[in-house]
């Protein structure tokens, strides 16, 4: 018989925990979607969540994408100058990298840090102060009352924020293209406008999956918080870290599926 402290036993236990948690997240998603169709959605609550999520993400996502656009334009421009003596295809390269990858992934990261953390902390606090139990005793299912509006708000707001972040990235690139690389603005704008809509659609569609990951993981971590203030802190950190890692991992697989479908 192996001792409980044996590394193999510990690894096996961890694997079981992860499998169980994954199953429970999937169940939570299923229950949330089932409540979405079964019960009317409280419009005020949903609107409040959407405004909160937008407000939380908007400033940091703007700053992140403007500077990302600037650095992409700078790196592409100077690489082109070294290779071809002039800054070619700045808008095209920037459009591909920002629209398809950087905007959805970085906005997703910001969303996980700002919104995911807030969801896990709020629901976790409600759990440890018995507010979730109180909801049950008042005949209200916490999934219906708390998870449903957060799921809908996240799945709506992140894609919109990604479109907005795309624009911020383009503006950042434009600033560098004009001031530092000195390329004509029409050339930069033509590069961008000549891109296929598929490129934008690729990043836009990915953001739905990222939103689902963030909101499902954060709600799950909040609902399963244990152990007072320390537990809330752990749940919040775990929600953010797991969401970010899952975004990066799923990015590859979702991108592969979208590319195989001819989107982007």
């Amino acid at each position: 018989m192996l001792s409980p402290n044996n590394p193999v036993v510990i690894a096996a236990r961890k694997l079981l925990d992860v499998s169980q948690a994954t199953g429970e997240v999937v169940l939570l998603i299923r229950r949330t979607f089932s409540w979405m169709v079964r019960a009317p959605i409280e419009r005020n609550n949903l609107l409040y969540q959407m405004v909160e999520m937008g407000n939380r993400t908007f400033p940091v996502a703007s700053l992140t994408l403007v500077f990302t656009g600037m650095v992409v334009a700078l790196q592409t421009g100077f690489s082109m100058i070294r290779g071809f003596n002039e800054p070619l295809y700045i808008g095209t390269a920037l459009g591909h990298s920002i629209f398809k990858e950087l905007s959805p992934v970085l906005t997703g990261m910001v969303f996980a840090g700002r919104v995911g953390a807030a969801i896990a902390a709020e629901l976790g606090t409600m759990k440890v102060t018995e507010q979730l139990d109180a909801l049950y005793t008042l005949g209200t299912n916490p999934v219906k009352y708390l998870a449903v509006p957060r799921f809908i708000a996240a799945i709506t707001m992140l894609p919109l924020l990604v479109i907005y972040a795309d624009l911020m990235g383009v503006i950042g690139g434009y600033i560098v293209a004009m001031i530092q690389l000195r390329i004509p603005s029409t050339e930069y704008i033509d590069d961008i406008t000549n891109l296929d809509l598929d490129i934008v659609l690729h990043g836009f569609l990915k953001s739905f999956f990222f939103a689902l990951i963030i909101v499902a993981v954060s709600c799950y971590k909040g609902f399963t918080t244990k152990g007072g203030a320390e537990g809330v802190g752990k749940a919040t950190t775990a929600a953010v870290v797991i969401s970010m890692v899952m975004i990066l991992i799923s990015d590859y697989f979702v991108s592969a599926v979208l590319v195989s479908l001819g989107i982007g």
Binding site: M126, Q131, A134, L138
Partner: protein
């Protein structure tokens, strides 16, 4: 003989290797108040949470008006829960809502009352617990005693037949403890509600109870009227009600 309003039969509950309840049985007639006493960690709150369906027992039955709630699905359980009000130990008021919205919550979400009507009833219930004019405040702006009373107002808002109080007086000063005890008595007299309270506070237990049950090592050690408990010959019950560290109840050595 009619079925008691609450009947608990052979309840067993464990958390991991720790056995919390090992065959708990009791019954309660309509309009009676039962107080459950017992040391910390003996599973008093777990028992209340099982009665309202927040925690599922491992085995045994909990019959509310003859219906075994341990066998009900989520929707059916919710119907039974509407007959009950639960007062939480730490009040568990919703931070994101005002006091008025907290009290009106169940009326608005379950009873489908229009919000202004629900808030009107909430004002009446708050007045019943001696808290008029605080509807707009947030729970964080209230004192401990006020939170307890708002918790009671929220629990009685939907006119439940059964009220469950989880340590309603813990953490309050002696005067406020008596205010809450009087309030529990007043609610019983005015609406004839059946109640189960969990408490450590013997003064409050004697005042509000028709029956007192002592929980010890997963079982009901003794159940009887306040007089019977006060004059119990059981050394464990005697030690507990006397609040002594000397006796058969195992206590940590300091």
């Amino acid at each position: 003989m009619s079925e008691p309003i609450i009947r608990v039969a052979g309840l067993q509950k464990s958390f991991g290797a720790k056995k919390i309840h090992n065959g708990i049985s009791f019954s309660l007639e309509e309009g009676e108040t039962l107080t459950i006493i017992g040391g910390s960690g003996t599973g008093k709150s777990v028992l209340l949470k099982q009665i309202i369906g927040l925690i599922k027992p491992d085995s045994g039955g909990i019959f509310v008006e003859g219906e075994d709630i341990t066998q009900l699905d989520e929707d059916e359980l919710q119907k039974v829960q509407k007959k009950m009000g639960y007062v939480f130990q730490e009040s568990a008021l919703f931070d994101s809502l005002s006091v008025g919205e907290n009290v009106a919550f169940g009326l608005h979400t379950i009873m489908d009352a229009e919000k202004p009507h629900a808030l009107k009833i909430a004002r009446q219930k708050l007045a019943m617990v001696g808290l008029s004019g605080i509807e707009e405040l947030r729970p964080s702006q209230l004192s401990g005693g006020m939170k307890k009373r708002v918790g009671i107002a929220r629990a009685i808002a939907m006119g439940p037949e059964i009220l469950l109080y989880d340590e309603p007086t813990t953490g309050l000063d002696p005067v406020m403890t008596d205010v809450i005890s009087d309030l529990i008595l007043k609610l019983k007299e005015e609406s004839g509600t059946t109640a189960i309270a969990v408490t450590h506070d013997m003064k409050s237990a004697y005042k509000i109870s028709d029956k007192i049950a002592m929980l010890f090592e997963g079982k009901i050690l003794q159940i009887g009227s306040p007089d019977e408990i006060q004059n119990s010959s059981n050394p464990i019950v005697r030690q507990f009600i006397a609040g002594s560290s000397h006796g058969p109840i195992p206590v940590p050595r300091v």
